[in-house]
């Protein structure tokens, strides 16, 4: 599998035009325009209640748009979502639910096997393959409730990969994992990004790591122009309180992690001093 670079000519995989969406006639997203190209790795950050999950749900056809157009791989959302692997935010979770890691991941094959069709040997091969890629194959017979937060996150990523997606959507992927584990998950996502387009949302500014290629801010409106770094303008526009953020030293971490990618950046030098 050779690495394809994201260029200006790359294929559009997600196209959102003038999207308004929300619940019960109240919009939480206004006039969203977003173009995701093949092999992008986009991190969108924004405060809680800023519409991040709603945006993902629109892309998955779980929330209908009030206005505007959404296309996945040039087609409708319900058609296109078959090519999306979705990693939900893992908040609600029944630890006693009787299900093994293997069975959770095999759910990723549901889209390929319709009603009254059994899972095939091919499905089992795919499931074993993705479990190996997230280093969870050894734990395949464990009940999901017995896993740690980081292990569970890997299982959900494996489930999304089992759909053999072209696009991965991740909702707060680092919410329930400690920093060490999140680094290893980012390394995994970085590897996956060689052949899968990734769109990730998070409320945590520090979640934007070196592996994310471009970043944006989402808080009712989307501030995304394919930038490689978060700018104070974007943060200010999205969070509407720039001083607070800088006081917590959060942008510092973001810039520092970018040193890996762009060591020549003057902003980085400034932060390092």
């Amino acid at each position: 599998m050779h690495r394809r670079e994201t260029t200006e000519t790359a294929r559009e995989v997600i196209s959102v035009q003038h999207l308004w969406a929300g619940y019960e006639h109240e919009a939480v997203l206004e006039d969203i325009n977003l173009t995701v190209k093949e092999l992008d790795f986009i991190g969108l950050i924004g405060p809680n209640g800023g519409g991040k999950t709603t945006l993902l749900k629109v892309l998955l056809g779980l929330v209908p748009p009030m206005r505007g157009q959404v296309h996945i791989l040039g087609g409708s959302v319900n058609e296109g979502r078959r090519h999306i692997g979705y990693v939900p935010q893992s908040v609600e979770f029944d630890r006693d639910f009787p299900i093994t890691v293997w069975d959770v991941v095999r759910m990723g094959r549901l889209g390929k096997r319709g009603l009254l069709q059994r899972y095939t040997a091919e499905d089992n091969d795919v499931v074993a393959g993705v479990l190996r890629s997230v280093e969870m194959l050894d734990l395949r017979h464990h009940p999901i409730g017995a896993l740690s937060g980081g292990q569970r996150q890997r299982v959900y990523i494996a489930r999304a990969l089992a759909t053999e997606p072209e696009i991965l959507l991740l909702d707060e992927p680092m919410a329930s994992v400690d920093p060490l584990v999140s680094t290893s998950i980012y390394e995994l996502l970085g590897r996956l990004n060689d052949h899968v387009t990734i769109l990730m949302v998070s409320h945590d500014v520090s979640a934007v790591s070196a592996y994310v290629k471009t970043v944006g801010c989402l808080n009712r409106w989307l501030f995304y122009h394919g930038e490689r770094q978060l700018t104070s303008d974007m943060l200010e526009a999205a969070y509407q309180c720039p001083i607070d953020l800088i006081a917590h030293g959060v942008p510092h971490r973001v810039f520092q992690e970018h040193t890996v990618v762009r060591p020549g950046s003057p902003q980085v030098e400034e932060v390092r001093q």
Binding site: G61, L62, P88, P98, I99, G111, L115, P143
Partner: protein, 275 residues
């Protein structure tokens, strides 16, 4: 117990216990992991309206109960899906209306209502052979449908959102589940009665859920436990001359409480033996 087996009614009762326990284990597992115990209670009590209808129009009350409980299942499923809030209120209302309708219809029916109480409190000792055949048929229907739609039932139970994204017909599968609950409830009415249906539906599954690591094992274990509880309860009620339905429930309840106490001990032993 052995000498009791010479009575036909006792053999029928034991068979009825086994047949009902199989359905109970399978459907009870789905009820417990989906947390729809309340909806199941609503379906069970609404079924009483069908029994009243049967009495009033002089047809087999069990048929009326089947029609009514399936209708209640479809109604409650629709309510649960369409209205996000207050679903529990509406289910509670349907629960009460079904029950009240049954009582009024029975009031309006002239003549002696011999086995009316048996639907409320169960009468496993009075199961005719014909009903055993109905139970067997219902068991086969339930096993077949659950086997056919196993992966979809598991998917909507574990993560409905993901199932939707994978284009699983979530609403249809949910409706199927509620109809299966309705059929199970009607079967169970004979054994423990409407009032105690929820208990027998949930307790074997709840115990099994503490020890099974996947849904299939939970279903099998819950069915086996159900057979044990109904048989033990039946034997106790026979030798102590107690109401059979209530005795079965008390046996199950005692086992459930014991399992809560034993679970921490057993899982420690297991984790040690597994290394």
């Amino acid at each position: 117990m052995i000498e009791a087996l010479q009575f036909g009614f006792m053999r029928n009762a034991l068979l009825a216990g086994v047949l009902v326990s199989i359905a109970c284990g399978i459907i009870g597992t789905l009820v417990v992991i989906n947390r729809i115990v309340f909806v199941s209670g609503g379906i069970a009590h609404a079924a009483y309206g069908g029994i009243g209808l049967g009495y009033f129009f002089k047809f087999n009350p069990v048929l009326g109960a089947i029609v009514f409980s399936v209708a209640a299942a479809v109604g409650m499923g629709a309510v649960q899906r369409r209205t996000r809030q207050r679903a529990d209120t509406i289910i509670g209302v349907m629960w009460a209306i079904g029950m009240a309708l049954g009582i009024i219809l029975v009031d309006l029916t002239a003549g002696y209502k011999a086995d009316l109480m048996s639907y409320l409190f169960g009468s496993i000792l009075a199961v005719p052979s014909g009903d055993l055949l109905i139970m067997l048929a219902l068991d086969l229907i339930i096993i077949t449908l659950v086997a056919l739609f196993y992966k979809e039932l598991l998917a909507i139970s574990f993560d409905e959102t993901f199932a939707t994204v994978e284009n699983v017909p979530v609403d249809a599968i949910h409706m199927l589940l509620l109809c299966l609950i309705a059929l199970t409830v009607v079967m169970m009415m004979r054994v423990v009665g409407l009032i105690m249906v929820i208990a027998l539906l949930t307790m074997p599954a709840a115990i099994a859920g503490q020890f099974a690591r996947d849904m299939k094992r939970m279903m099998v274990l819950a069915s086996i436990l159900g057979v044990l509880f109904t048989t033990a309860g039946l034997w106790l009620s026979y030798s102590l001359n107690l109401t059979s339905g209530a005795t079965i429930i008390l046996v199950s309840g005692t086992a459930y409480l014991l399992s809560l106490v034993l679970k921490p001990l057993m899982s420690r032993v297991w984790s040690e033996s597994m290394g």
